[in-house]
């Protein structure tokens, strides 16, 4: 290649660089061109979803949908102001919130999407009898799954102890975890009568958006007494409460913008536990499970 040609390419590409860089940077900072060709500052909303195939509506208008693979959605080019945000997925309950968008800022939300039909499945205490019924009453065999879950219920009454002490075991001990005090990934929940409080136990610069303060904060108060609560399966930004009347509700911790989504899961149960993605509950002596990863 001739030197002249090389210099031509260098000059051309340098020109492209000088033109493109300010455009990309302005775009990255949230500047957009308005209809009257003025630069305006915009903001965005970021929906961190557990589900794929989700649509986001702003003030009733569809703004963006995620595909089969992508889950999270960034809605850009939003003028500062208040927006009614709806996150919709077929077969799931509606999640909605009022969100205030600031210029050059992104408001992050963590929609709690619950299937409309949770399909609780009963776990029988005994395994079904095999073969022809005999004259004598046969001895029934216990279902291992039932027994294991029963053990989990027993264990849940006592605070869990790790075999190996963790580096922050002192701090954890101070929290006095138990029936009314739960901790998950640095999010500490505490029940006091009809109220649930949250506190961030991690570093300030890691403070999650759904808590937004380092102080103890009330995140839920009810008219009914709360008999028990647990973190929502595989999430630390929501919890499940059981009221004195036996009903189970999923509640999100995020109380920003004055809206808190709350969904009924079960009308009535005696007790419940959460283990990984599973919710188990007893209705009298019948044990049910709901898989939240299904």
């Amino acid at each position: 290649m001739t030197v002249k040609k090389q210099w031509m390419y260098i000059a051309g590409l340098t020109l492209v660089f000088l033109v493109v860089i300010p455009v990309i940077l302005l775009y990255s900072f949230g500047y957009r061109l308005s209809s009257d060709f003025r630069l305006v500052k915009t903001g965005g909303i970021y929906c961190s979803n557990d589900e794929s195939d989700v649509s986001v509506y702003l003030n009733g208008k569809l703004k963006k949908s995620s595909g089969m693979i992508e889950r999270n959605i960034l809605v850009q080019n939003i003028k500062p102001g208040n927006y009614h945000v709806k996150v919709v997925k077929d077969g799931y309950r509606l999640w909605q919130k009022w969100i205030k968008v600031h210029e050059q800022k992104v408001e992050v939300c963590f929609p709690l999407l619950l299937p409309k039909d949770l399909n609780p499945e009963e776990i029988p205490k005994y395994l079904p009898l095999e073969g022809k019924p005999k004259k004598k009453k046969p001895k029934r065999e216990l279902n291992d799954e039932y027994t294991e879950i029963q053990q989990l219920f027993k264990k849940s009454r006592k605070p869990a102890k790790n075999i190996f002490p963790s580096w922050n075991s002192r701090e954890i001990a101070k929290l006095k975890l138990g029936k009314n005090r739960k901790l998950k990934e640095k999010v500490f929940l505490e029940k006091s009568g009809k109220r649930i409080y949250v506190r961030w136990t991690g570093k300030k610069d890691r403070l999650p958006f759904f808590i937004n303060t380092m102080k103890r904060k009330r995140v839920y108060s009810s008219e009914k007494w709360i008999s028990a609560f647990e973190f929502y399966p595989k999430r630390n930004d929501a919890f499940i409460v059981r009221f004195i009347d036996g009903s189970l509700y999923a509640v999100e911790i995020d109380t920003r913008f004055g809206v808190q989504n709350l969904y009924r899961i079960v009308n009535w149960c005696d007790s419940f536990i959460v283990d990984g993605p599973m919710l188990f509950y007893f209705q009298r002596n019948k044990l049910y499970k709901i898989d939240f990863e299904r």
């Binding site: 290649m1 260098i10 990309i24 940077l25 990255s28 850009q76 800022k105 958006f209």
Partner: protein, 516 residues
């Protein structure tokens, strides 16, 4: 110029800083440390900036991504240009072109250093020389064995001499003695010894003028295409300053390309492409791997340096210093074929690729030599020196840091930027913009894959179409290969040099499958 300031090239053929003392030692060490310090400074700087000034770090990353996109486009234009030239040169009948010159006096001394390679590899290389369209009686074959390799290579050498002696004009076997003081065991010391032996045993004995001999320093796996020597001779005779230039072919790694794993192929072809790009930028071109140089020039500069690792590129800088900057590399745009890395197992192949890349990256040792000699040699212009300083430093820095900046450190502002930054539009735009720029950059790989497939030997079997598609898709491995087998070995090599933990010469094991 006062006598005390006169530059004596021979005095400053330094291998490493530890050979010097006093101010010279400090000066040499400074230049040895600088490339590694720049690379580490960039990596640490990017992390620290992401932590304390994430906005500026993000701006830098976006600007750098765009710069990289345009740089890749710029290099691709060179690649395309060189590809066209290679195809043209491959089609050219150089023997026919030579008719216009008087060329029968030109001898080719072919240096074939070997260590413990198989007989079949040596044989195949010699066979390819026999297939060359050039008078074989004008070939001086120097099969350069190593004493430290034991008896078997000596037996192979003797056998080869017996078999091929009559086919070539001259055929000598040299055995480089082990443990010569001040030498670093490796290719450089071996071929230097062999070249001197050839001078005494052949050139002086047969009274062949040094100026009529072109020395081709090959690896034992270098297979020449049939018109290589005709092309080289033509370029030598057509050159304006034939004794002030080295000749550089394009190394392609075709010998065992279908047996090597995809990672090895991509790494090998990336090396070829870099050489092709450099061929179009003559002022940045230094000799690499297999190259040719007039014997008289080689003799004047004292052959290859035997006290360092990357003698293949150092010989260019030796000549550059000796001739006070009046020295160039002539890009031949004509290929020679070599072996891609291949070992008995996949992991061994990966290890060998890493080691080979680290050895090549250790070419950074030349930087200290260049800068140190620039200080001593006042005959080279300042502007020329500055350009070489910048081009070299930027080259070593780019190799070690660019892939890391793009594929790893690009995420640092998001990970370390803190809460305030993570709520900004910039933080959320960064991954999307980076991803989009990378996607556009990756389109350059389409050209790379096309060039690679065109340079490969023909795929003969029934599954040719499937294989061709596979050989194109393998280029998706580039983000991994340029990081793992580009940046990391480069950082490794620069760090070793920085701390004075000088590397030795590692011989790449040659292995071919049954077809090889």
């Amino acid at each position: 110029m006062p006598v005390s300031e006169k530059y004596i090239y021979e005095k400053w053929r330094i291998g490493k800083g530890s050979e010097l003392s006093g101010v010279d030692y400090l000066r040499y060490r400074f230049w040895e440390i600088l490339p590694g310090a720049c690379s580490w400074g960039t990596i640490i700087g990017a992390i620290v900036a992401s932590l304390y000034i994430p906005v500026y770090a993000a701006i830098f990353i976006i600007a750098f991504d765009v710069f990289w996109l345009l740089k890749t486009a710029y290099l691709s234009l060179h690649l395309k240009e060189n590809w066209k030239r290679i195809i043209e040169h491959m089609k050219t009948d150089w023997v026919e072109k030579l008719v216009h010159f008087k060329y029968d006096h030109v001898y080719h001394m072919i240096m074939l250093p070997f260590y413990k390679e198989d007989r079949s590899i040596v044989e195949k290389t010699l066979d390819s020389l026999l297939e060359s369209k050039y008078n074989h009686k004008r070939f001086i074959i120097v099969l350069a064995a190593e004493e430290r390799a034991g008896n078997e290579p000596l037996e192979i050498a003797a056998e080869m001499k017996k078999k091929y002696r009559k086919e070539f004009g001259h055929f000598i076997v040299t055995v480089h003695p082990d443990g010569i003081e001040g030498e670093l065991a490796g290719k450089g010391s071996n071929i230097t010894y062999a070249a001197e032996q050839a001078r005494v045993q052949v050139l002086d004995k047969k009274k062949i003028p040094y100026g009529d001999v072109l020395v081709s320093a090959f690896d034992i796996d270098t297979i020449v295409y049939d018109q290589y020597f005709a092309c080289l001779t033509w370029m030598f005779l057509a050159s304006e300053k034939p004794y002030n230039t080295s000749f550089q072919p394009v190394p392609v790694f075709n010998n065992n390309i279908f047996e090597a794993p995809a990672v090895s192929r991509v790494v090998a072809y990336s090396g070829t492409f870099w050489q092709m790009v450099q061929q179009e930028r003559q002022k940045r071109l230094a000799t690499f791997s297999s190259h040719s140089v007039p014997f008289s020039t080689l003799y004047e500069v004292g052959y290859w340096q035997s006290n360092m690792v990357s003698e293949d590129s150092r010989i260019f800088w030796n000549c550059y210093m000796k001739y006070n900057g009046e020295y160039l590399v002539t890009p031949m745009a004509y290929p020679v074929s070599m072996d891609a890395n291949l070992a008995q197992s996949f992991w061994q192949t990966m290890k060998n690729i890493y080691r080979q890349q680290r050895r090549w990256s250790y070419g950074v040792e030349n930087f200290a030599y260049i800068m140190f000699n620039f200080k001593k040699n006042r005959s080279i212009g300042r502007w020329k020196k500055f350009k070489i300083f910048f081009v070299n430093l930027e080259g070593y820095w780019s190799l070690a840091t660019n892939p890391v900046l793009i594929f790893v450190l690009g995420w640092m502002p998001i990970l370390l930027g803190g809460r305030e930054f993570n709520t900004s539009m910039l933080s959320y735009s960064l991954p999307y913009i980076t991803r989009d720029i990378m996607m556009i950059t990756m389109t350059n790989l389409i050209l790379s894959s096309m060039v690679a497939v065109s340079l490969m030997p023909a795929i003969a079997d029934e599954r040719a179409i499937t294989k061709r598609i596979y050989h194109k898709l393998q280029w998706l491995l580039v983000p991994i290969t340029i990081t793992v087998f580009g940046a990391i070995p480069a950082i490794d090599a620069q760090t070793r040099l920085m701390f004075g933990r000088y590397m030795g010469f590692w011989v790449t094991p040659k292995h071919r499958g049954n077809d090889g």
